[in-house]
Symmetry: C2
Subunit: 322 residues, 2 copies
């Protein structure tokens, strides 16, 4: 028999691991019946420091996140990680990564790690990832890290739902990777060059600092100085400094009042993503009915996409009342 | 004085270059007043063969597209290219690329090339790119190519709005790039390994064929055989074969009836993208009004994102009536 949602919510709020895992699975599936539970959870969220950690594959980002989780835990905090890992259809990367990291850390109930699968749509993933953050926040985790591969607009949207954004680089990843990363340069609150034990790490640090300076000049000086740190997830070097920089960033957000502005931006994004999700779900439910008629009229050139979209929004609103 | 839309539409339909450029700019800005013109255009679209060409930076994709455009033109067709180039804030890549290619081809009115800027949101870009395809289609171009960098879900959505999808690879781009490409393997109707003049090209072709075989086994055999071609945009080798493969793909779509299924999928995607665009535009217009109230109630934990999103959709529907 399924556990009633209200009971499940109570157990999540006390931090019970099994209840958290179950609600996360329901949220990930996105069944309509999970919404009342998420609504109840939402009222209790808002205490955690949410940190987005992004970087391309090969940067050692996952090992770094594991180190950060352990350091946060050693400092007495409850730590959760939501890993968004759009792995290729052939690698099965997220499942494997999960197992390795769970083995390392699972003995401690003050640490919770969850990989989100990417079932086709990254848009849906953004919604379920942010729901997962709320669930972990409401369950009493002090630090919630969102780990993503920093490629594509949806991923950038996801990581921008964090209070503090850490961008991870590493030496030896090649020029093409650097080009991709340029798109996420401007969202970094903290840069960290991982694999600092490598001999070519100092060049990557210098290149990154040059890119940041160029970017700041292009955008006009904003006054904000983004720190560039070095770390080695293998030796543990630089991890304490990174933890300190993350804490210090939150302190600065609170002091300057920017935290409120970020919370507003995050709330706006969540509102839009949720509305888009409702739109897609409603569209999928109506594939045999009136949306099919709209699509077929479009195919015959009788109605343009914009007019059809207005009619679709009308149908969705009627559905809510019906 | 601005040109009235109805006059502009008539001139676009006769294929007048200046009118096409102007309507493309209006569509790209996404002003509400462009929608009647796009609605009128839409009724005349649907004749062109729309070909999506995607591949990571460094694959020589843009040179290949230029070659294809010239080959199509030599075969007596009118050819248009819409290049979606999410360049880094520092490279200014799309503007430069435009200039180089325009110089090469602009003397001929039977060729039209347009780079779409990425003003922040790739979601909005998807809408304006597909509007651009309609405009060029209705203006009488026989072949409309959409050129993208194959990274991220929005880009995949864009390129899937084509009837035929060509994925461009090249030797020497490294393993990380291959991993990224794995995500777009399954959307290819035709693979082409560019830079076939390089000595290591045969290895890339063999690797690609192996990946495709693995992917087909993982997905279960579908019966469809995706050709892997070789080309050199520099020497021109393999271009005629690629043109023939693209034409042959369209022929197969028509013969098997799959073209109708693709047209349906494209119409569905456009409907959803347009609805999302209306949502975002409406949200932006109301930032000082009732959406702000929704966002603030979310920030106070009084209302969860899903409930707030339902209220937002309600507001949008009321706006349409008011």
């Amino acid at each position: 028999m399924p556990v009633p949602s209200s009971d499940l919510v109570d157990r999540v709020l006390t931090g019970e691991t099994a209840a958290i895992a179950r609600l996360l699975s329901r949220a990930e599936r996105g069944d309509a019946e999970v919404y009342p539970a998420l609504g109840a959870i939402f009222r209790h969220a808002g205490r955690a420091h949410v940190v987005g950690i992004t970087g391309v594959s090969g940067s050692g980002k996952s090992s770094l996140v594991t180190r950060l989780a352990r350091a946060g835990r050693d400092g007495g905090r409850k730590v959760a990680v939501v890993a968004v890992d759009p792995s290729s259809p052939f690698s099965g990367g997220s499942i494997l990564g999960d197992r390795i990291r769970m083995n390392e850390l699972a003995a401690d109930p003050g640490i919770f790690i969850r990989s989100m699968a990417t079932h086709g749509s990254l848009g849906g993933l953004a919604r379920s990832t942010l729901d997962a953050v709320d669930i972990l926040d409401s369950a009493g985790f002090d630090l919630v890290m969102i780990e993503t591969v920093g490629v594509g607009q949806d991923e950038i949207d996801i990581v921008q739902a964090a209070h503090s954004v850490v961008v991870v680089s590493a030496p030896g990843l090649g020029d093409d990777i650097q080009a991709i990363k340029a798109g996420i340069l401007e969202i970094a609150d903290i840069h960290v060059v991982n694999k600092s034990d490598r001999s070519d790490a100092h060049k990557t640090i210098a290149d990154l600092k040059a890119m940041i300076t160029m970017g700041a000049q292009a955008a006009g000086a904003t006054g904000r100085k983004v720190p560039v740190l070095a770390s080695s997830a293998i030796s543990g070097e630089g991890i304490d400094e990174l933890v300190a920089a993350i804490d210090s960033h939150l302190g600065a957000l609170q002091r300057t009042g920017e935290l409120a502005a970020r919370r507003r931006r995050i709330a706006e994004q969540r509102l839009l993503k949720s509305a888009e999700q409702i739109l897609r779900a409603s569209f999928d439910r109506r594939r045999d009915g009136r949306t099919t008629e709209l699509v077929e009229r479009m195919m015959r050139g009788e109605i343009d996409p914009h007019t059809a979209a207005r009619k679709l929004l009308k149908l969705i609103d009627q559905e809510k009342q019906g």
